[in-house]
Symmetry: C2
Subunit: 804 residues, 2 copies
Amino acid sequence: MTDAALSPSAPLSRADLDLIDGYWRAANFLSVGQIYLLANPLLREPLRKEHVKTRLLGHWGTTPGLNLIYAHMNRAIKARDLNAIYIAGPGHGGPGLVANTYLEGTYSEFYPAIGRDEDGLRKLFRQFSFPGGIPSHVAPETPGSIHEGGELGYSLSHAFGAAFDNPDLLVCCVVGDGEAETGPLAASWHSTKFLNPARDGAVLPILQLNGFKIANPTVLARIPREELDRLFEGYGYRPITVEVTDPEDHDAAHQAFAAALDDALDDIKRIQAEARAGSGDDGAATAERPRWPMIILRSPKGWTGPKTVDGKRTEGSWRSHQVPLSNLHEDPEHLRQLEEWLRSYDPDSLFDARGALRPELAALAPEAERRMGANPHANGGILLRELDLPDFQDYAVEVKQHGRESSEACRVLGGFLRDVMADNEEHANFRVFGPDETASNRLGAVLEATGRTWLADAEPGDDADLAPDGRVMEILSEHTCQGWLEGYLLTGRHGFFSCYEAFIHLVDSMFNQHAKWLKTTRQIPWRRPIASLNYLLTSHVWRQDHNGFSHQDPGFIDHVVNKKADIIRVYLPPDTNTLLSVADHCLRSKHYVNVVVAGKQPALNWLSMDEAITHCTRGIGIWDWASTDTGGEPDLVLACAGDIPTLETLAATAILREAFPELRIRVVNVVDLMRLQPSSEHPHGLSDREFDALFTRDKPVVFAYHGYPWLIHRLTYRRTNHHNIHVRGYKEEGTTTTPFDMVMLNDLDRYHLVIDAIDRVPGLADRGAHLRQQMVDARLRARAHTRETGDDLPEIRDWVWPFD
Amino acid sequence: MTDAALSPSAPLSRADLDLIDGYWRAANFLSVGQIYLLANPLLREPLRKEHVKTRLLGHWGTTPGLNLIYAHMNRAIKARDLNAIYIAGPGHGGPGLVANTYLEGTYSEFYPAIGRDEDGLRKLFRQFSFPGGIPSHVAPETPGSIHEGGELGYSLSHAFGAAFDNPDLLVCCVVGDGEAETGPLAASWHSTKFLNPARDGAVLPILQLNGFKIANPTVLARIPREELDRLFEGYGYRPITVEVTDPEDHDAAHQAFAAALDDALDDIKRIQAEARAGSGDDGAATAERPRWPMIILRSPKGWTGPKTVDGKRTEGSWRSHQVPLSNLHEDPEHLRQLEEWLRSYDPDSLFDARGALRPELAALAPEAERRMGANPHANGGILLRELDLPDFQDYAVEVKQHGRESSEACRVLGGFLRDVMADNEEHANFRVFGPDETASNRLGAVLEATGRTWLADAEPGDDADLAPDGRVMEILSEHTCQGWLEGYLLTGRHGFFSCYEAFIHLVDSMFNQHAKWLKTTRQIPWRRPIASLNYLLTSHVWRQDHNGFSHQDPGFIDHVVNKKADIIRVYLPPDTNTLLSVADHCLRSKHYVNVVVAGKQPALNWLSMDEAITHCTRGIGIWDWASTDTGGEPDLVLACAGDIPTLETLAATAILREAFPELRIRVVNVVDLMRLQPSSEHPHGLSDREFDALFTRDKPVVFAYHGYPWLIHRLTYRRTNHHNIHVRGYKEEGTTTTPFDMVMLNDLDRYHLVIDAIDRVPGLADRGAHLRQQMVDARLRARAHTRETGDDLPEIRDWVWPFD
C-alpha cells in the first residue's frame, strides 16, 4: 500500500501505518514487560530467569486489543481535537492502560519516580501486581481511569453517566465480551434512550470480541454475525464490524479499525451537529433519538502473543487469558519463548538509548489534557463545582407542638430538590436517579423543575414531563441507575438516588466497588474528592402494605457499615425537618456514601426546624420535651432510630408517662447511626463518656430500631451499658398487612415496648402488672380489629403526642 | 366469523371464541373482585360502599394480559395434552393467577375453605391483600407458582432452570416490559444458548408489552417495532407479534393470540422432534441451537378496565398500574363506575346460582395435574428424588499427622462432585453452576463426568468438554446462574453453585427473595421441601493476589445471617476432609441455603477423615492435639473459623507453645458458624453452658475469623465471656500482594495473634515482652522480604505444624 491509497476504507498512509503499529507494539511490549519482568526491561542483555518475576500475576488476553484501541483513539483525538476519556471494561486491563498512560507521559507526571527512561521502565514493570505496587485492573491508581473493571458489567453505564451533561465529551467505552454476558451490562445498552445528542456528550461503545472468558468461549462471539448485528440494531445502534481475519496482517487491521473509528466519529459529529442545529437556546428541546454508531472489534485473544505453548494453541484461545507462559524459572524453553515474544516487538526500534520512547512515536500522543490519561473528566474532583443550595430551612414544616401534625417527609424534600435542580440548571451538574420511582417516592416536585429524561418514542397522551432534556433519570434497572450516577459523580457532578429500601440490595456489589474506589482514591494524592453518593431509601420495610414480604429488607445498612468508616454515613431522620437538614448536609458533603432512610407516608412532625438542626448537628440526643428525667439520671432509657420506631417509642413513652408519672424516662433519638460506634471505629463515634452520658452506665435501655436489631448490638457491644440494651427491630416477620400490624408482628409496637420497659425497670414488675396485661390485651384487640376490618384501630392510626 | 372460518390465522370457531372470552371475563371479574370487594361478590345486589374494601391494595394493570394468556394456555394444554407451568414475571400479578387457579379448581383443593360457590368467592375476594390474607404478588401461597415476581427480573432464568432436564415440560413465561428493563432479565434471554432441545424442555417467553411501569412508559414499548424484532432476533428468537389495536375487538385479539400460540407451539414441537429424532441413546449429542419462538403481546395496560377516570385516560395508561378507581367510600361516581366495570363482565353469564363457574366454561380448563395450578413441577418437593451420593469418605486425603501435608480442598471436592454427577446421570437431577469458574475454582474433575453446556456455535479447536448435553452451567452472569439454579431447585432437582466470594454479592437480592420463598413455603402445608441451595464461595478474600482489593469482600455471610435462622447455614471447613464432610451434608439437606466458604489453593490438612466427621458433626470443637490445656481450664483460648484463620491460629499456637510450654492453650475451631449463636436464636446454636465449656467464662479468647470481625461479636454478644473475646478478621485492607502480606495488613497473621495473646493473658506481659518484640520484628522482616522479592518468606510459605 502506498500513501496514495488513502481512502475512507483505508485511511492510513504507509507512514501512518508504521507509526501506529510502532506505538501499538510499544504498548504491547510494555504490557508484557509489566506482567513478566523485574529487570532488564529493554532486553539490552539476554533474558535470564532472574530478570523474571517468580509470581506471575497478570492478564495478557485482553491487553493487545485495549492497546490497539488506545493507539487509534490517540490518532483520532489529535486529528479531531477530541475531548475524550477511555473506559476499559474488560477486567485486568491494567497493563494496557498503564502502558499507554506511560507512553503518553501522564504516568510519569503523576508518579515522578517512574521516569521515561530505562530505570523508570524497570520500576514500571516491577511494580505491576507486585506487593506494594499496583493492581492488575485499571485501578484508581491508573491515570485517566474512572472505572476499575474489577467487577464486570458497569463500563457502559459508567460511560453514559460520564457523558450526561458533558456535551463536548466523547467517552470511548471498551466492553469486554465476557462482561457483555452480565445482566447490568446487557441492560445498559439501552442507555441511548436517555442520552440527548444536543445537551449530552457521546459514548462510543467498542465491543471487544476476543472470543473467550477464563475458560469458555463467550456467547456473543459464538452467535452468527448476522444475529449479533441484529442484537445491536435492536438495542438501537449501528454496528460497525472490524474483523481481524489474519492476525499477522497488522496493516489490514489498522486500516480497518481506523476506518471504522473514522466512520463512527464522523457519524457522532453529524448526529450532534444535527441535534444542536435544531435546538433553541435551551440546547435540547428538539432532540430525537439517533441511531448511534458502535464498533464490534473481533480480534484474537492474546493477539501478538505466543501462537502455541507446549503444543497448544494460545493466541486466539482462552489459554491467553492470564499468562500464556508460566513456570519460567524452571522451564528454559518457556523462558526462551518469552524472550522471543518480547523481542518480536523490536524494542530497540521503539525506545532510544536512554529508554525513552522515540520522538516520532511519542508525537502520536495528544498533548496536555487531551491525553486520555490527563483528561480532567477522569479526575472529576478537579471539575467539581459546589452545588448552589437553597436554604433548606425555607422548606421547613411549621411545628408548633411536638407530634401533633403530620407531613410527608419525602414530598417536602421533593420541593427542596426541585429548587436544587432549578438553582443549578445553568451549570447542569445535578441529576436525580431512581428506578421509575421518583413520583412513587413522593419526590414528584422535582418534575416541576425538569422533566424525566426520555429519548425513546413519544406518544399522544404522554405526560408532559417526559422530555429529552429532562434530568430525572428513570429506568427500571437499579444497576443502570447506580452505574449512571457513579459515572456522573466520578466526572465531577452531583446526584441523588432514591430507591425502594428492599431493592437497593440489587446494587450491593456495585456499592462495594464504589466504596472501594472512594477508599483507595482518598489515599492517592493526585485524586481529588468527588461528590458523595447519596441514597434515599424509602418505601421502607415498615410500610409494605401494598407489597408484602418480598419488599421488606432493611439490610442495606448492615451491608454498608462493613465498609471503611471514613467513607460511610447512615442517617435515619425521624421526620420532615430532620430529613431536610440531613439532605442538605449530604448534598454538601464529599467523597462519602450517604445512606438516608425515610418513609414516604404521612407521619407526625416531631421537631421544629431549629430543633431539627440542633438534633441533626449532634446526630443523637435526648428529646427533653418527651422525657421525664428532667436532666437527672433516668430509670429507663427509651431509644429510637428511624421514623416508625420513633413513632412507636413516643407512643410507648406516652403510655408509660400516663401510667407512672413519677417514672424518670429518657427518650433518646438517633439520626446519625454512626454516633453509636466507638470513636475509635468511626469518626462520628461518640466517646464512651458521651455514650454513657446518654445511655447511662447501668439503666435499662429499650431501643427501637428501624432495621435488623443485631446491628445495634454490633455497634454498641463495647459500651459500658451494652448488657442493658434491649433492641427491637425487624425480624423477617409480616407480609401484606396494616402498618401497625407490621410493627406488632415484629414486636416493635408501642405496647410491646411498654411491656419491654415494665419487664426491665427494677421494681416495675409489680406496679406494672396491670398495665402489662392491658398491653397484652391491647395487642390482641388491635390484631382482631385489623383482621376484621383490614385497617388499624382509629386510636392507633390517628394517635398524636398527648403532651405539650 | 363462522365456524367455517377456522384457519391458522383464525383458529377459533365462534363457539370457541365465546367460551374463551367468557373464561377470560371470569378471570378478569375475579381479579377486580379481589382488588375491591369485601362482600356481594357476584353483584347479586347493587354495589354499596360497605361491600368495598377501605384500603385498596392491588395492581390491576398487568392482570388482564396475564389472564388472557392463562386462558389460551388452558386451551393449548387441552388440545395438545401439554405438561406446562406458568411463570408470571410482572410484579403484582397475584389477582390473575389466584383467579385462574380458582377457576380451574386447584385453589379450592389447596384451600378447601375457599369453595367454588358464592361464599368461597367472598372469602377469595376478602383475603386478597388483606391482613391475614394473601399478598398481591404471585406468592408461594399461589398454587402453580415457582416465581413470586415481587422483585423483578428473574422470570426467564427461573423458567429456563425449570426446563433443564425436563424434556416434556413447557414453561410459559410471561415477561413484563417493566422487568425487561432490568439487567438480570436482559441477560437471561441468552439462556437459549444453554438449552438443549433434545434433553431439556421448552421455554415459551411471552413479552407482555403493556407499555407502562408505575409512572413511565417502558423502553421496549417505545422503540420501533422493527427495532424490537431485531432485538429478539439478535437474542436468537423468532418473535411472533400480537398487537391489540382495538381493545374492544376481543374476537380479533383471541384469534390473533390463539394463532400466535399455535404457531409457537407447533414450532417448539418441530424443534424438539427434529432434535430428538437425530439423537442417539444419550438423547442429546447432535443438538444444535434452534431459533426458538417467542411471543410479543402488545395490549393495553389495564385492558377492559375503566377507559377514563375523572376525565383522564386510564385503560392503556400507567394510571391503570395499581387501582384505577380509588376513594370509593367517599366518591359515589367512582363507586358507580366500579359497579359498571364489574358488571361489564356479566357475572351472571359466568357463574351459576350457587356461584360456581358454569360447566361449559369450567370444561375449558385442563384436568388434574395438567392444570397449571396443580402441575407437580411447580411444587418441586413432590418430585424431589434424593441424590445417590457416593461415600464422601472414599475421597478423603490421608492425614497421618496433623498439619504436615497439603492438598487443594476444592480439587478433591471436584472428584466427589464428579461422581455425584455420574451416579445420578440416569435421573438427570443434578447440575453444577458457576460464572465461568468451575475449572478456576479447581472443580474441573466434574468435567470428566459431563461437559459444559454449550449450544452456541462450536469452532475447531474448542475444548471437547463443551457439549450440548453437558450439565455444568457456565455463563458470566451470576444473576443468570442463580436464576437457573433456583428454577432447577424449585422444580425438584439438586444443584451446586461455586462462585468467587466477593462477587456473590451480585445476587444478594436474589438470595433474599429465595430465602423469603423458603421461609414462607415452610409454613404452607401443601408445599413440600425442596433441595437446599448450596453455595461454595471460593477464591476468597484472603487469596486475591491475582486480583486485589476489588475482589475482596467476605460480607455475604453477614448478609445471609440476617435471614430467618431456620433457613440459613454457614460452614467454614478448615481443610479438605472437613470440606468433603460439609459438602456431603449440604447435598443431603433440604430447604436451606447452605453457604460454604473454602479456599482453592494448596493448604495444610489438619484432620483425618474420622476426625473431620466428628468435628463437622459437632460443628465446633476443641482441637486437643493442638491444645495444651489437657482437658483442664485453659489460660487462653485461640479460636478460629475459616481456612486461613485456622492456619494462622495454629502457627500462632506453635509459637506460643514453644515459647511458653507451661501455658495452657486451648484451640477451638468453628466449622458451623451458627453454633456460635444462642440456641434461642438458631437451631444449631450452642446452649450457654456448652459455649462456656468451650470458651470459658472468664479467660481471654483470641478469635481469628475469616470475614468481618464484628460478625463474631454480633453472634456472641450475649455469651458470658463475650467481653473477653477479641476478634481479628478482614477490615478492608490490602490489595494485590502475597498471601501472608494480606493477613498482616489485616492483623490476622500468626505474629499478631501471638501479640494479641501476650497482651491479654494475665501475667504474660512481662514474661512475653521479649517474644512480643520478636513478633513485631518478624512482621517487619516478613514485610520487607515481600516488598523486596514479591514473595513470602520460605519459612512462612512452607510452614508446617511442628508437633506430633
